[in-house]
Symmetry: C2
């Protein structure tokens, strides 16, 4: 066990060639005779040879690493627990790997304030994908200004000079509201936090649809933290105080919707008979809850691909623009 690490020079010696030839051979450089190339590659495989990435990165001035920066809103150091965000990260991971890059999982705690310095100057990554615009928008701005290759998962309608990829939140909100009304809702409720960029768009799509149906008076906004716990408490509280003065809920996320549904069920409010519920995201639980949750699906797989390809395009010096993903309404039992 633990035989001393083979370096390129050793491999070269074994093959009876110079280090440079070995290097080129491993990189499949056509300068080297095909036969020699194959011989060396074979030898490398036999000896389980692997290049020293640190040396390689130093020499090449690039890392073949993409950092994913989870930009949490909470000031408290805390683990992410929204399954949707995690799904996004997981799909980014796949896309990154497919492109032959590695994924450095990071967060504002590690990166500090000077993201460009930390990731790019520090040669930790070639580019960064920020998940969640959060409230640290200033740091994103700064990093972008400093020239850091960057793509943000967030609301693509936000006016910014960096590239954003995200769902068509406005349309999502509109479709959700229209769906609720098509099911007969006369008094729909929006559950969420419109201050937040993405959710604001959802709310404004919701309002637009409500308005053109002439239901503005009867509709309501219930501002809450975007957790299922907060949703549960808010709906509970509302039922106790105001009674059942709504007949539909558009929740800004599935987790929020599920929290709300729990409160309804506990009070024997029938879903969907008394209240229709629509969520957003389409996490796995949406399908498994009872009743299953109608929701606006965000295509995280496509999101991952797009985020990564746009970042790589930037690395190639191309000019890239923000873009918007299409969303789909998934009808289930809750509406």
């Amino acid at each position: 066990m633990q035989q001393k690490k083979l370096k390129l020079a050793d491999l070269a010696k074994l093959a009876g060639v110079s280090t440079s030839t070995a290097s080129r051979a491993l990189n499949d450089n056509p300068l080297i005779k095909l036969e020699t190339r194959e011989r060396i590659q074979q030898l490398a495989k036999e000896h389980n040879f692997s290049l020293n990435a640190a040396a390689s990165r130093l020499r090449l001035q690039k890392t073949k690493v993409i950092a994913v920066l989870i930009n949490l809103d909470s000031e408290t150091e805390q683990s992410i627990d929204d399954p949707f965000l995690l799904k996004v990260v997981s799909d980014i991971n796949l896309a990154v790997n497919r492109q032959g890059y590695e994924l450095l999982l990071s967060n504002s705690f590690m990166a500090g304030e000077d993201w460009h310095g930390y990731f790019i100057d520090g040669r930790r990554a070639d580019g960064v994908i920020v998940v969640g615009q959060g409230k640290q928008q200033a740091l994103i701005e700064a990093a972008s200004k400093a020239g850091m290759p960057l793509v943000v998962w967030g609301d693509p309608k936000t006016k910014a000079d960096y590239v954003i990829v995200g769902s068509d939140n406005f349309l999502g909100g509109k479709i959700a509201a229209e769906h609720l009304m098509s099911k007969g809702c006369k008094a729909p409720l929006f559950l969420g936090e419109p201050e937040h960029a993405e959710l604001g768009e959802r709310y404004s799509g919701f309002c637009t649809a409500i308005k053109s149906a002439g239901l503005t008076e009867q509709s309501q906004l219930l501002k809450i933290d975007i957790t299922s716990q907060a949703a549960y408490e808010a709906i509970n509280h509302k039922l106790r105080n105001d009674g059942l003065d709504f007949d539909g809920i558009f929740a800004c996320s599935d987790m929020v919707a599920l929290g709300a549904m729990k409160a309804l069920k506990e009070r024997y409010v029938s879903i969907p008979n008394d209240v229709h519920v629509v969520g957003f995201d389409d996490i796995a639980m949406a399908d498994i809850s009872f009743p299953s949750l109608t929701t606006v699906r965000q295509d995280t797989k496509q999101a991952g691909e797009l985020l990564v390809s746009k970042l790589l395009a930037q690395l190639d010096g191309e000019q890239v623009a923000s873009s918007q993903l299409e969303i789909t309404l998934i009808e289930r039992q809750s509406s």
Copy 2:
């Protein structure tokens, strides 16, 4: 924007000292006069200086990176979607950062077959945390034999010559079964896949408790894939074929439990009156489902800390042993 990257030598020149002094100053080496040290650190901050990690790693022969290798069972290239696993990863992330290390998120797809070569020889990480024993146990074994610093999240009762951290699955299963019986269950059902190391332990704890209560005859095992979907279908199928011939379910995970509960609810089987349900993990949804789910809680926070500290201890050359986390029964409405 984009002023050329400052290197250590430049910083040194600015400070009017040699590169070596600058290097030592940044590393807070007491060899350098305190005053000089502070002056240089100050200067570094002003200029947003950051060391080139690639160069540093090359020179130091260590990376200050820990790789987390998600070892999926599925052969299909696929994103992780069990919220519990993601929670584990997220808590590892925190623990890793707290120790001043960075986290490389990887998987068997990237790492190939020779993990030692890829991570250690390739100087991508100083050590690896494998999440999920999966079926690639041979690769873990090989990497460990090759001397790769390694800790595995899995079943600590598994006989292996590498370090494993995990919950006391046997006890968890036992407690779950005892709880079901204390609630009056006479015919409990285990829902899961006993072939899998961790789940096998849970099953065997379950059986032990059942046996000492003399209910072996009446209890059942329903083998399924460990997804909520499979659980839903299995319970549905069983109800259709056998009717309600059980009065308690111990599901091997919360997601499985939730799938099962959906099937029960759809058929108007009352929880907990007709069937008591206990899950495992304590994911966020356990609390939000209706009825909320009684479950055996795994302490992922502690898991993260322990995994990381054991790995770091290995890096320091210490001898470390596997260890078992305590679990807690969280009683909720489903039982």
